[in-house]
């Protein structure tokens, strides 16, 4: 396993693998998106409590899942980048950040659109919304840190340190926000919690989750490719200046 891992740290080999996988991932993303949207909009019944607004869940929940898992993935690749100095690991964290930020933003906006009919207001300082907002700030800080370095390898290592410190902090933030919320919020807020999710709702949710996952992989491959090419371009520009 470890050997395989190292093998894909080589940019050229990664590029070859990525081009082989890319059409399949993109195809799966399109297929799953169409299926998920059809199931979510036409097949799934309306919820007895939330009415038709339950359909917002099919774009909201997967976005929230992806927003959180992309940060985890960035933390893992940042650690790999720091420990084994994988060139691709550094680049992959950088490439993933804007995608994760987009998903987090979507989770926030669709959450607000669900909140207005259900809670009577667009924004509630609900624990989940608040944690997602903080997560968005973490993404923005990460991207801003990348942007403010001139030296690529320095930026990679600095960003990796920030992601790791943030990742250690995330459970603490989550815990504190949850706790803060139960203190300040009446506990009557309706959520999708608990085992009461019916299969007719759960299936489209999972399909949409898989669709977002594939979409992430597809965009991720494009962005990593762009990062690798960009590195190559910078190196060539420098070597041309030296001649």
């Amino acid at each position: 396993m470890a050997i395989d891992f190292h093998k894909y740290a080589n940019p050229t080999r990664f590029l070859r693998l990525a081009s082989a996988v890319f059409p399949w991932v993109t195809g799966a993303a399109v297929l799953l998106l169409v299926t998920g949207l059809y199931m979510g909009l036409f097949v799934a019944p309306e919820d007895y409590q939330q009415g038709e607004t339950v359909r917002i869940m099919f774009v909201h929940v997967p976005a929230a899942w992806m927003g959180m898992s992309v940060y985890t993935m960035m933390a893992v690749s940042a650690a790999a980048g720091l420990i084994w100095k994988h060139p691709v690991a550094d680049l992959s964290a950088k490439a993933a950040a804007p995608i994760g930020a987009c998903f987090t933003l979507l989770a926030l906006v669709t959450g607000a659109l669900w909140g207005q009919p259900m809670w009577g207001t667009y924004w509630v300082w609900d624990a989940r919304l608040t944690s997602m907002l903080i997560l968005l700030f973490l993404y923005l800080g990460y991207m801003a840190l990348w942007g403010s370095f001139d030296d690529h390898s320095k930026a990679a290592r600095a960003a990796a340190i920030l992601v790791l410190v943030g990742a250690i902090n995330i459970p603490v933030i989550k815990f504190s926000v949850d706790w803060w919320n139960t203190l300040h919020q009446p506990a009557s807020v309706a959520t999708l919690d608990g085992p009461k999710i019916h299969g007719s709702i759960l299936t489209p949710l999972l399909v949409m989750g898989a669709a977002y996952m594939m979409l992430f992989l597809s965009v991720f491959i494009i962005r990593v490719k762009a990062e690798i090419m960009d590195r190559r371009l910078q190196i060539m520009k420098i070597s041309q200046l030296q001649e």
């Binding site: 800080g141 801003a144 840190l145 600095a158 340190i161 410190v165 943030g166």
Partner: protein
């Protein structure tokens, strides 16, 4: 090694006191920022009592941020950071010395003046005592987490803005439990659990942050 550490702290404190202005400026900022709130929300005493703990904590967070970007910057600019990095004191301890002196010069004055401001915000006596304890236990985490941000942004243009964007989200747990401790004390509820959590955050930050900040500094002087 311990002597080196203490020497570093003494050097930092001396520098801070000789310059002087930074010390009083942070304090002035804190006082003014807190004073703006009654002017903004109106002078009703029960509203002020309701928002008092939050205002003081947010004021403390922002004032702490104000001096963070200078933590390593001056030493980086005049080259003494390079010397400190290759000296016999481990970089982690250098960071810790900086953190200790930042806490002593930028945060301790705030803690000392807080009772005065708390009275002006109509905070009851129990609340003021809780506020002091909460600040004492929680604020080391602010300096420690801030040191990572300061290390990462050392030598960057526009480092200060970036620093706040990176550090403030990480301050949220300290803010939440710091305010909660004071509110619990005002409501005559037990606050030991909040204070222990604040202490736990400071201790946790003490383990993680010097290492991370040292890694960031090695990067900067590379």
């Amino acid at each position: 090694m311990m002597a080196g550490f203490l020497g570093l702290v003494r050097r930092e404190l001396l520098l801070a006191f000789r310059q002087g202005s930074a010390l009083t400026l942070t304090l002035a900022f804190f006082v003014i920022a807190v004073t703006l709130f009654p002017l903004g929300v109106g002078p009703e005493l029960n509203i002020l009592q309701r928002i008092g703990p939050g205002v003081l904590w947010v004021g403390a967070l922002l004032s702490c941020l104000l001096t963070l970007d200078r933590m390593f910057q001056a030493d980086f600019e005049d080259g003494s950071l390079d010397l400190l990095m290759i000296g016999r004191v481990p970089v982690e301890l250098v960071v810790l010395a900086k953190v200790v002196s930042h806490w002593l010069t930028s945060i301790l004055p705030l803690i000392l003046i807080t009772p005065l401001l708390a009275v002006s915000l109509n905070m009851p006596f129990d609340g003021i005592v809780a506020m002091e304890f909460a600040l004492l236990l929680g604020s080391p985490a602010l300096s420690l987490i801030g040191s990572v941000g300061a290390g990462l942004t050392v030598g960057l243009r526009r480092g200060g803005v970036l620093l706040s964007l990176m550090v403030l989200p990480l301050y949220i747990p300290v803010l939440i439990f710091g305010v909660a401790a004071v509110e619990a004390a005002i409501a005559v509820l037990p606050m030991a659990s909040h204070l222990s959590l604040l202490a736990a955050m400071s201790l946790g930050a003490l383990v993680v942050c010097p290492v991370a900040a040292a890694a960031a500094l090695r990067l900067a002087v590379d």
